[in-house]
């Protein structure tokens, strides 16, 4: 009788033993941005928590809390899900730990291509890729006899044609909200023009040139084809514009395609929503877009036991074939076993076209911040492009001096 009971218990719990990664102690506390793919990722790692404490904070304000929370000793979070840009302040302040030992010991299913190495040390493990690319309304373009645009010049021409036909007042949309979003659009467009943000080998700014002017002029043309409130529109706002059928062409993050193409909202618009790669600009051959990865990093100011427990749980998700198969719609996973679906077109095209990753430089955050506030007046028509770029450089230089980069 006892034997039967034991084997029954084994049968019952045997299946879940696969998910339990046998973590005996430690506490896990994760800070992450808030979008569906990251929620899936963290949920998957939770299955592996064993008897460890497990907490997670999903917040779109993650950038604002990360540095203070990880500076504390012991730090509030044992892990931070970061991206190309948000790993930089953590590196600058020396707040994250190298993962080489842990990868060797517990990182069995993690592919080498997922490892972010800096100076030979593994500092993060990436699990998904992201970029901004074009979305278009197939029905509208077909009606008007417009080919799917591949350059921003074609996007402008197509939008003007749609506006002239009277079908839509504001046919184009992109996240131009003053601040981080607007600066990100500048970064994309500037890289598309072949620009480099800093003079080679220094932190001196290098944007006040013909490429910078061309970038601003293109942004302005596009903004004139957008809803006049564009300076207040973030990704979520333009998603709503799209779902209301006000927009025919849009530049948006790949990670948003999941919610754009779900069953909610007007079925006709959803059916006509199609994805394509990012556009090029100014005759360049690399796309006007930046590639992003999302990956996990571990806090330095936390005990080794917590770091180990956290790594094992997160590594379980970062090598989970079942997760990438079940959630293939939510993101372009970098995990082994991922089969790209129709929603991954944007990122895959961007990689094929040779898109560049977002620059992972210590002073890039300051440049991004200066761009977000200083180019607004140009878009409002209050300032020349040269003056706006001069302002950006001056604002950046003051900040970089205060931070000791210049």
């Amino acid at each position: 009788m006892r034997k039967i009971l034991v084997s029954l218990l084994f049968l019952l719990f045997g299946t879940s033993a696969y998910a339990d990664c046998n973590i005996k102690s430690g506490s896990i506390n994760i800070l992450a941005n808030d979008f569906p793919a990251l929620r899936t990722f963290v949920e998957t790692s939770k299955q592996c928590k064993g008897s460890a404490d497990f907490k997670v904070t999903h917040s779109s304000e993650h950038n604002k809390i990360a540095v203070p929370a990880l500076t504390a000793n012991p730090s509030e979070f044992s892990a931070r899900i970061a991206a190309n840009s948000s790993i930089v302040p953590l590196m600058n302040q020396d707040l994250i730990r190298p993962l080489d030992d842990l990868v060797k010991k517990y990182g069995k299913g993690i592919q080498d291509s997922q490892l972010i190495t800096i100076d030979g040390k593994v500092m993060a493990v990436a699990f998904m890729a992201n970029t901004q690319h074009l979305y278009y309304r197939e029905d509208i373009l077909k009606d008007m006899g417009i080919a799917v645009p591949t350059t921003y010049e074609e996007v402008v021409a197509a939008s003007e044609k749609i506006r002239a036909s009277g079908k839509m007042k504001y046919p184009y949309a992109a996240a131009y909200k003053a601040g981080w979003n607007l600066a990100e659009e500048f970064v994309n467009m500037f890289i598309g023009h072949g620009g480099e943000f800093f003079k080679a080998g220094s932190a001196q700014p290098n944007i006040n040139n013909a490429k910078g002017v061309a970038t601003l002029n293109m942004l302005k043309k596009l903004s004139e084809l957008s809803n006049p409130d564009y300076l207040t529109h973030d990704s979520e706002a333009i998603k709503v514009e799209w779902e209301s059928g006000n927009v025919a062409l849009m530049t948006l993050w790949a990670s948003r395609s999941g919610t754009l193409l779900d069953d909610e909202g007007d079925a006709k618009i959803t059916a006509a929503t199609k994805l394509t790669g990012p556009a090029t600009v100014g005759g360049g051959n690399i796309p006007a877009a930046t590639l992003w990865w999302d990956g996990f990093t571990l806090a330095k100011n936390r005990s080794d036991a917590d770091a180990e427990a956290t790594f094992r749980a997160l590594a379980h998700a970062a090598s989970n074939k079942k997760m990438v198969a079940d959630a293939a719609d939510q993101a372009v996973w970098l995990v082994e076993g991922f089969v790209p679906g129709p929603k991954s077109i944007g990122v895959i095209e961007a990689v094929k076209m040779g898109a560049k990753p977002y620059p992972m430089l210590p002073q890039m955050g300051l440049m991004h911040g200066a761009l977000g506030s200083e180019i607004v007046e140009f878009l409002q028509g209050k300032e020349s492009a040269e003056q706006a770029l001069k302002d950006v450089e001056a604002a950046y230089i003051s900040k970089a001096k205060e931070q000791g980069f210049l």
Binding site: Q114, I116, I118
Partner: protein, 342 residues
């Protein structure tokens, strides 16, 4: 009250004020004189899923050594105060020498972030404060004249704008003035201009925020004035009526002089509040068109991935000085009255 009693009475509050207001201000002041150490960077190979590049990172070992030796940072004196993002002394000198007309000079100066923010902050103060006083006074007078029965519900309705959280209040208005919102769309129809947007025009954004400010702050003035009106003695008013004084004359010669100290008090508090205008800028997503001093501090602390403590501290100190300057005339006047009263 004898001085000794007053001292013991005030001690707990005084201690709390020193601890939670005085010391942080001193610490902010000290911080504003320091900048970060020079960054030690090194070239390394970075690899990510998209390939490998050679680029720079901060050399943490070296940085830690320097930081441990001098944890406050590099002494910068008034360096942060006079840099381009604050008082911009060098830039202003340059503009003065280079520009040909005074108008061009003003244009250049108002393009600097600190002055841009200062101008918005002052404009906001100068429009909102008097209007709040006036509107609050008019509402208080009218409500005081209304039949007692309906006064309760009316007062409640009047102070609603103050009860609504500033962020929620501004968001409601923000959606109404959207180009597809009830106010925004109607204005487009009225003006017959489909590209008109309250949110993208700088002037219209300023006007919206100022109107919101008046709407939000008036109830405070009203409540205080209404309370003060209850203390106005009836005899002189009745005497004035018998003498044939009109309603306006009665207000001018009896009511206003009586509640004058309260008016000063409300003016002081509103000026202080308005100088620190912040929530409506976030609520209206108006960062592009309107920046206040408080918003600059916020921007330095949270909007950048690199936190600029020195900049934020310098702006904070200048905000405090700004408030002191604004309040000075009222404070001096109160002090003089206090002295003559004794």
């Amino acid at each position: 009250m004898p001085n000794k009693t007053f001292f013991w009475f005030f001690l707990p509050t005084g201690l709390a004020m020193i601890l939670f207001i005085g010391l942080p201000i001193i610490s902010t002041g000290i911080q504003s004189f320091y900048a970060q150490h020079d960054q030690v960077v090194k070239e390394v190979k970075k690899c990510d899923p998209f390939g490998c590049t050679v680029s720079i990172v901060v050399d943490n070992e070296e940085t830690t050594k320097i930081r441990d030796a001098k944890p406050l940072g590099k002494f910068n004196g008034f360096g942060t105060y006079i840099d381009r993002n604050h008082l911009a002394v060098d830039e202003i000198k340059k503009f003065w020498n280079e520009t040909e007309s005074f108008g061009a000079f003003v244009d250049q100066v108002t393009n600097l972030p600190f002055y841009k923010a200062l101008i918005f902050t002052l404009t906001y103060c100068l429009f909102v404060t008097p209007n709040v006083l006036l509107l609050g006074f008019i509402i208080a007078l009218s409500l005081n004249a209304v039949a007692r029965k309906i006064r309760g519900p009316l007062i409640f309705g009047t102070i609603l704008p103050m009860i609504v959280t500033p962020l929620v209040g501004s968001l409601v208005l923000f959606w109404m003035i959207d180009s597809q919102g009830i106010i925004g769309a109607n204005i487009q129809n009225l003006m017959n201009d489909p590209y008109l947007s309250l949110k993208s025009s700088k002037t219209l954004t300023w006007i919206t925020i100022i109107i919101y400010g008046i709407w939000h702050h008036s109830p405070f003035a009203f409540v205080v004035f209404y309370a003060a009106l209850q203390t106005v003695p009836q005899e002189p008013i009745e005497a004035a009526i018998i003498d044939g004084a009109s309603r306006l004359q009665r207000i001018k010669h009896i009511v206003l002089p009586h509640i004058y100290p309260v008016v000063t008090f409300v003016a002081l508090i509103s000026l202080m509040d308005n100088f620190r205008v912040f929530e409506p800028i976030i609520g209206f997503s108006a960062e592009g068109s309107a920046q206040s001093l408080s918003w600059l501090i916020y921007d330095n602390l949270v909007n950048e991935e690199v936190i600029l403590f020195g900049s934020a501290a310098a702006t904070s100190m200048m905000t405090i000085i700004g408030i002191a300057i604004l309040l000075a005339p009222v404070l001096i006047r109160t002090w003089k009255e206090f002295k003559t009263a004794r």
